[in-house]
Amino acid sequence: MPRLLPILGWSAVAALGAAAFAVLALHRGESISAAWILVAALCTWAVGYRFYSRIIAQRIFALDDARASPAVRLSDGHDYVPTNPWVVFGHHFAAIAGAGPLVGPILAAQFGYLPGTIWIIVGVVLAGAVQDLVILCGSLRLDGRSLGELAREHLGPFAGWTTLFAITAILAILIAVLAMVVVNAMSESPWSTVTVGLTLPIAMLMGVWMRLIRPGRVLEASAIGVALLFGALWAGWAVHHLPHDSAWRQALTFGRELRHLPLLGEVTGREVMAWILIAYGFCAAVLPVWLLLAPRDYLSAFVKIGTVFLLALGIFIVLPDIRMPAVVSHDPARAIAGAIGAGDGPVLPGTLMPFAFITIACGAISGFHALIASGTTPKLIARESQARAIGYGGMLTESFVAILALIAACALTPGVYFAMNAPAGTIGREADAAAGIITAWGFAVGGEELRQLARDIGEESVLSRTGGAPTLAVGMALIFDRATSFIGDLKAFWYHFAIMFEALFILTTVDAGTRVGRFVLQDIIRPAWPALADGTRTWAVMATSLAVVSMWGWFLISGVRDPLGGIYVLWPLFGISNQLLAAVALSVGTVIIVRQGKARWAWITILPLLWLGGVTEAAGWQKLTHESPKVSFVAQARAKDAEAAGLEARIAELATDDQQLPALRKKAAAARQVAFNNRVDAWLCAIFMLVIVVVALDAARACLRHLRQARA
């Protein structure tokens, strides 16, 4: 009888989850309650954690508290510190959860709510959490070594160098795409610009407090910082209510107007914002950590955890209806379905298969997590058995954040969702015209509805606010506003609170990522040029920081100048690079399992590796060979070259004093630049695809060699 109860209980949980999935998949009404998504997710994750993670923890790695962990064995009070498991979980979660699980699911909502829901819930159980736990356990068994060191140890020097290359490339693209999200969220919004801008002096004040005024009083400084953030929200509100022609408001309206920059001439407001972020990234990387990076990290972590908790609470209280159709690209009633089915979706290019998986990325599996699960977290774990909750449980928690974001986006009216996420080149800049285009796609929305929403959230416009952050902010604002409706209409406050929350931890990734990129770059160049890799020399720190900032800055500026908008181009490249790193981590994980003598369990990493490798290679192949310039980097480069050649031919025909010449020359140069940018993206994509194949083959070779040696 005592054994029967758990069996019955877990069977009931599994049946409930399956029933929720059935309702989500078969429902064909106008809307469906978000409760079904939550039930499907929580039941699947409970079963996955209870049974699937147990296989990894007990059958494969035989985690045993009697075996001293690296933190205990090598304890030095510095790098290796046995730490309370809740505290380790907090560090691990704060490190792995960034903007990816929020932005990816929102962009993937273009395909409908069902593809994202299934991949986030099932993908994390079978792939993402598996990767994190296997790498964490593998690192625990090798003194807490990093992914690059694990790759070198288990696969050889080639894989080690390949991993370092992959980390550098993904860092550059990651920082650029996240900075792009901030540019899109803040442009044309003085309220957001003031609020987010003020977080910098607030963080510096915290830094001075924690370092000089009251050394080490972290919680005290954080409380002051969080209180001041509300002051920053108020300051943004005050600027927003200034007359339109006031100098302050004009200066802070980054967006449509052309600005003059030294050396660059006339540029758009978005480009000015991008250059400001690049300058910020460089300053944050070279300034003392205590002054900016550490206090921002605290501020971001507290706001992140608090807001995610509030969002979960709000969704559980409100249980909003999901208004997005289950699958948009297969819905014959929608004109847009044909475009998405052909790979010309308005939010992101590419068909549901394989691009939905590349787009969701971090919410289901993120290669970047392998960097945290190796090298950092294992040096804090006091007992081996705690790895299961931290590695597998941490990733399930991140996936929960992704599901919350998906719900917030899909609870919006689909017409509003597409108005916010389609580029201006597709729907224009005027509300009535945009509403007409989106209604023709099959999602009824009115121009006045879009204008009213903009007024409600205290913005000039909600059109083409691409990048996912504004969409999430609107979704969160509507949910929070319903939960706090007894106070009054707080949509504008909650919208800008959400933008501040997103910008805070995105900027933390920008500055911490630039700094970590510097360390990785120094590791790479150390054998060839030790002086440049010396972190104690100011010139070396400046030079390597400048190199890292230049790498991501190049992608950012090319994204800002791209005619289809940066997110349209950069996010798929980011998804491919992130999944590449995951494929490298799963390859390393497979070799670790085989070398543990558990080859019969190797399918647990081989299956997600095959799936991930397949979808990433398929997406990469389309980015290189698809005929549509919207999907393929190569086709876009050719189209832009043809456009430039046409313009240059026209220029040759005109007289040298023709008034049209300067404008035509500028357009031709811009087209050539976009063609060049797309060629660089295509080469990177091809290299990523090659790396996945080479590392997977290298892993297969290492596994076979080990098995042959074991038999002999």
Binding site: G77, H78, T83, N84, W86, V87, G90, H91, A95, I96, A97, G98, A99, G100, L174, L178, M210, R211, L212, P215, G216, R217, V218, L219, S222, V289, W290, L293, A294, D297, Y298, A361, C362, S366, F368, H369, L371, I372, T376, T508, T509, A512, G513, R515, V516, F519, F574, N578
Partner: protein, 62 residues
């Protein structure tokens, strides 16, 4: 009385975990761990300079 005591104990534990996670009590832990080892302890200010430097090396994910 017992539920109140359990609640207060839970709050104390949560506060201790929060201080541990944030590093608010890092200097106290450092002093406890290194007291009586025969070498000079860092000052609070010097300790936190090194502590924040180490925190800055931690990667932040996407």
């Amino acid at each position: 009385m017992r539920p109140w005591r359990s609640f207060a104990a839970g709050l104390r534990l949560a506060w201790a975990l929060l201080r541990d996670w944030s590093g608010d009590d890092a200097y106290e832990r450092y002093c406890r761990a290194h007291a009586g080892h025969g070498h000079d302890l860092l000052s609070r200010r010097a300790f936190y300079r090194r502590y924040f430097e180490e925190r800055g090396k931690r990667p932040r994910c996407c």
